[in-house]
Amino acid sequence: MKQSIANIGWQDSKVLIAAFVWMMTFFVALFGLRQTEWAVGVKVLLALLPIVPFAFFLWHFVNSLGNMDELERKIHLEALVIAFPLMMLFLMTLGLMELAIDLNPDDWSYRQVWAFSPLFYFIGLVWARRRYL
């Protein structure tokens, strides 16, 4: 039997661990870039640091898709179908708001805005799961 959708198996644990490591490197990079005056090369390296754990996360996530059954894959696909236009609408609205008012870059820079995409994906997952489960 395929792993229960509600339970977390080893494959999912690897995805979660990879996501945790990726997030940790993001915060390390963020903290490092804010705290100290580094040479430009070091700053760029710090900024690129989360790419490596993200690649591992993506690899584990794509592998985990292979262990899902067809319903779970459909749920993830529908989550994407919801998350993508939501993110598009959000970016479009921010772009227009940027022209209308002064958005504080400390609140609305790329480093804040990207976090809305996993949030929208999670909203999509909840919506799709409620539909089928």
């Binding site: 039997m1 395929k2 792993q3 229960s4 959708i5 509600a6 059954d69 067809e70 319903l71 779970e72 459909k74 539909r131 089928y132 489960l133």
Partner: protein, 68 residues
Amino acid sequence: MKNRLRLLRAEREWTQADLAEKLGVSRQTVNAVETEKYEPSLGLAFKIAHLFGQKIEEIFSPDAKEGR
């Protein structure tokens, strides 16, 4: 799409978990098919039909609305 999956499973006194095991899917998927929240792929429908020794159309049938 309507189906007789719950009835066929009950006749054999299988739990949803038993059926899920035999089909290689999760128990939630079996439940979603039985409650007609989810229409299985053709591949899964064939597996179900083969498992119960029936034709697909003997297990799955279109809703009255779909038939119009």
